[in-house]
């Protein structure tokens, strides 16, 4: 059990929209092991992002339990969740969401400001994270001076800088074209392999999904299969029209 980093047990999530009660997740259960690269796939509105938000501690289930890195986060207060997220979760966004007035270095350093850490150590960790994503030469550039791919690299460095147990990525290649997309996927894969990071990635893209060790398919708020199907079988079911060669 010590290798299980994410455990979701019978999680439900409901929203009230006007007078209507919308059930987005309908009893989802899953486990993710430490060091796994998992892709969460499914059609729009299926509940992918909602599930990702629950695991990342950005939202809480209406019912059920979410345990991440050994801590039950389903009942934490907003402040506790914020503190917990700083060190436990690294978040990579589809649209990068860097602070436009800060440099690449300052953007990456931002989460460390919340930790009790010396300025020297903060600098070391920031430079290391930027080095890992290959942006040591872009420290003083602002997001507007970087390409989309470079901005996403900064976003990944920001997600890694606190050395979190889990990196969650919401469509990390959704805003990138072919070559840049491959670069970002290569980077995520190398981080997972080299640093043994656990990565949970939401994606619509079969190319991105193909990089994952395991695919979780979600539809209408339910996980379709967690066990049984191989990755290739899951890919074929999720993207039946995509003619892809999956690198073994």
């Amino acid at each position: 059990m010590s290798d299980v980093i994410v455990q979701v047990e019978n999680a439900f999530k409901e929203y009230i929209r006007g007078s209507e009660r919308v059930e987005v997740l309908k009893g989802v259960s899953l486990k993710i092991l430490r060091g796994e690269f998992v892709a969460l796939i499914g059609p729009s509105g299926s509940g992918k992002t909602t599930l990702l938000n629950l695991i990342a501690g950005l939202d809480q289930p209406t019912r059920g339990k979410v345990v991440v890195a050994g801590r039950d986060i389903s009942r934490m207060s907003e402040s506790e969740l914020a503190r917990w997220r700083t060190t436990a979760i690294g978040f990579v966004f589809q649209f990068y969401h860097l602070i436009p007035v800060l440099t690449a270095y300052e953007n990456v350093e931002m989460p460390l400001l919340l930790l009790n850490m010396s300025a020297r150590r903060r600098r070391e960790q920031t430079l290391t994270a930027l080095h890992l994503v290959g942006l040591s030469h872009r420290l003083t550039h602002r997001p507007g001076q970087l390409s989309g791919g470079e901005q996403q690299r900064v976003g990944i460095a920001r997600a890694l800088v606190t050395d979190p147990a889990l990196v969650v990525a919401d469509e990390p290649t959704g805003d990138l074209d072919g070559r840049k997309k491959e670069e970002i996927l290569d980077l995520l894969q190398s981080l997972q392999e080299g640093l043994n990071k656990t990565i949970l990635m939401v994606t619509h893209d079969h190319v991105a999904a193909a990089r994952a060790h395991r695919l979780l398919r979600i539809s209408d708020g339910r996980l379709l299969e967690e066990h049984g199907d191989s990755r290739d079988e899951a890919l074929a079911k999720a993207f039946p029209d995509a003619r892809i060669r999956i690198a073994q």
Binding site: T49, T50, N53, A56, L58, D59, E78, S79, A82, R83, R85, T86, T87, F91, F93, Q94, F95, H97, I99, P100, V101, L102, E106, E109, M110, P111, L113, L114, R158, D170, E171
Partner: protein, 391 residues
Amino acid sequence: MLLKFAILVLKSLGRNKLRTLLTGLGVMVLVSIYAVVTNVTATVKRKVVHDASATKLIVTERWTMPSRVPWRYVDEIRALPGVEDWATWNLIVGFLDESKRRDRQAPYIATQPESLKSMHSGLEKLDDAAYEAFLHRKDGALVGAGLMSAMDWKVGQQFTIVTARYPSVDMQFTIVGVLPVGDWSNSFFCRHDYYMEATEDREAVNVLWLKVSGDEAAREIAARLSTEYENRQPSLKVETESAGVARFAARSAAVLSIIDGVVAILLIDMVIILSNSISISVRERRVEMAVLKVLGFQPLHITLMVIAEAMLVGAVAGLLGTALTCLVSQLTVEGVLPPTTGTRFLLQFPVPWSAVFWGILIGAGVGLTGSALPASSARSVKVSDVFSRIA
């Protein structure tokens, strides 16, 4: 961390420089107006409460405006026991040049040179050489620093006051000195004997001032004069300077209340300007606030950031607004800047440098109040809502 936080706040303010500048300017102008207006009311109130003397008596004609106290009364009254010093005033308003423009009008006072320093508070610091010259030159005038600067006059120069209505003659003076900076910056004194000679107005004065030995003597003399001159023609009114000023203040209380009301509206206006600007900024940065929350920033951090931005804008605007006002005020009072129609009143009510401290505090306070609602909105940004809208 605080330093980094401050840098983030500063950089956030710099993202829309024009808006920050315009907001700051709005607050700056309002803080300046606030500083000037509150300084006027505070000065008037201070003069009523503190500066007016209870041992100085003002003697005027009871029923007529402008007051005309016969000169024969002056001779009788100044000889009363208990009267230590005296002076008369003939108050005149004339044009400083032939243009007869409204902004080229100045009040001046004809009085006895011997008692100039002792009977006029604020003139104790008058330069001895100037005072000596005033004693010895009949057409001499001691002119306020602001007036000197406005007219570009020099000591030794002659000038002519063009009659406004009364007296019906133009009068020529020679400048023998400059009055100390303060209450008299925008007026000038001339000698009463010269006034009488030039105008032939030898029969009466507008005001008779008496300095008496103490409170008790003041009450006795006031009572005696009231009784003795009640049934004479013209009859007189006597009151202490403090009572006279208090009466004036009571009459002007309504005006001061209105001014205080305007000041309160100014403050509310400042809060609205800042609140609106910060609200727009927060609305534009909802995603950024959500990202900060994702990174681990607490709602309190977000609140403090928004409040810090607003307080910084307010405090800097307050600092610059009041500093600029004080600078203009000091330069005007000291005669470096010529007074204009807009700044002339600063000569009577110079804004002290201590106002800068209050300007900063008021600016920061306005920032704090104005940012309360936007900060509350920012702290309650729900991350999942923000990103679901983007997706």
